[in-house]
Amino acid sequence: MLLPVMLFKKIYCFLIAHSYFVVKILRAVITTFIILVLSFFMVRASGNPAEIYLGDNATPKMVEYFNKKWGLDEPLYVQFLTYFSSVISGDMGDSLIKNRPVSEIITERIPATLSLMVPAAAISMFLGIILGMIAALHHKKITDGGILLASIIGFSLPNFFFGVILIYFFSVVLGLLPSSGNDSFRHYIMPLIAIITADVAVFTRFTRAALIDIFEKHYITNFRALGIKEKRILFLQALPNASIALLTISGFYIGSLVAGAIVTETIFSWPGLGSLLIASVKARDMPLVQGLILLFGISIVAANLIIDFLYGVIDPRIRKRAS
């Protein structure tokens, strides 16, 4: 008799003690659910499926058969539950145009996107932090101003325009680099440059701002008064503290990375998920659009959840404030 009560109490205490993580997980679950609901209604709102599949010449009998076959005559919540369970099992229907399972088409395209995005993100982060550090160390000097101006220019240069310019110079005028596809190492150069230019600017600005902010704190002044070298302060004191601000940016960055992927892949005809999304939207291939939106949405939610967890681990203060 006592056991369930004790168990309940234990679980309750565990949840309270880890309320920061519990809240974050709950938020992620809710967001995922919202994405699922939206993607479900997205296809419903785009028109009557029977009309889209069968065309205008369908007889009422055909429509009835079609609705029965796909469960469209069921109440909406039953349809949603069916949809929900099939998504969980990885079945996202068939593409209207390619006549193949959506999950299969998407899986084929994942490596191309990841092989472009992961190096782009890593290089941008690395370069951005280094440049931001240099700017912060030379605060109010000409180096700082130069880096700042360059980052403003990088931020304002829309990646679709920059990509087109790159293609014009390197593919059209000089004939050095291929402008589309992902067959060799040379194909990666221009898309990488296009993404990195914009993203380095973002990381530089934030690293610089975070570091300058920290350099004004009393504990840094204290270290300076003790005669500790500036570089030592930077690496051992300021940078670890700035990492919290950087983590926040990384959360927003994942979203902009996805956005950048969609545009950059379209410009360079990169056979990845982003160009697939645009192509399927234009072709009105709703099951494929639905699958891709789900994939993008859920991976962003998952990435943000990981970042929130890292927050809690790096900075215990945040955990306490939340609970």
């Binding site: 240069l157 679709f160 087109v164 310019i165 014009y168």
Partner: protein, 273 residues
Amino acid sequence: MIFLKKYPLLFLLALGVLVLFTVVAFLPTPHDYNHQDLLKRFVPPFFKDGSDFLYPLGTDHLGRDMLSRIMAGIKISYFIALSGTFVGAVIGTLLGFTAVRFRGIVDEIIMGMVDTQASLPFIIIAIALLSVIESSFLVIVVLLGVAGWEKYARLTRGLSLSAVTHGYARAVSSLGASQGRILFIHILPNISSALIVNMTLNFPGTMIAESSLSFLGLGIQPPLVSLGRLLGEGRVYLLTAWWVTVFPGIVIFISTLAMTIIGDWVRDRIGTE
């Protein structure tokens, strides 16, 4: 941004460029921007051989005057960026006030929406919606507004919560003013500077978002033109006629650069984050 504080010249230059673009855009266009003349296809700009002085920036694949198209594009792109930013600010501020006024569960729901919105990139939401709704001028403006509301909501909520405890808000409250009156008549003017800073900082982002969508062919639809659309259309002819792509691109770049510089300057001047 001490760099810009030292050199307000840069700010004046940026402002000048924006004003210049706007004024030029509102001059009468030399041609109708949709007038096609197939005999005048791909006329190069004025500094190249074979140019036509009637078409100083050349023509596109249908013989349409690029200068007229860019002028029309600036008008629409600027207007969308402005109204999109404004719509976002209004929605966000109203929701922020609603959260402060009612607190409790309303507050939780609104902040939950803020978190959800912040975690999903604009372009994903936009593509999901545009795959269902036919794109139009109004849809794009609302979409851009909805994309930006979350920052204003967060800002308004945070600032109002602290403002409510200030002396002036308490004084009006003890005089019997309603919550809504305090928020709109007394607190709004006090937090407006922060909201304006956020608007100027958001402006270039809104412009780039619109251009990206139009570039992808999901934004402004013909016969209307926006700068992003011009760029997207001209991209196919990069090999034969670079000017069709490059001129609109330069206008977008210079505009967003100028807006960013102005935004940074305004933030430093007003000094709020």
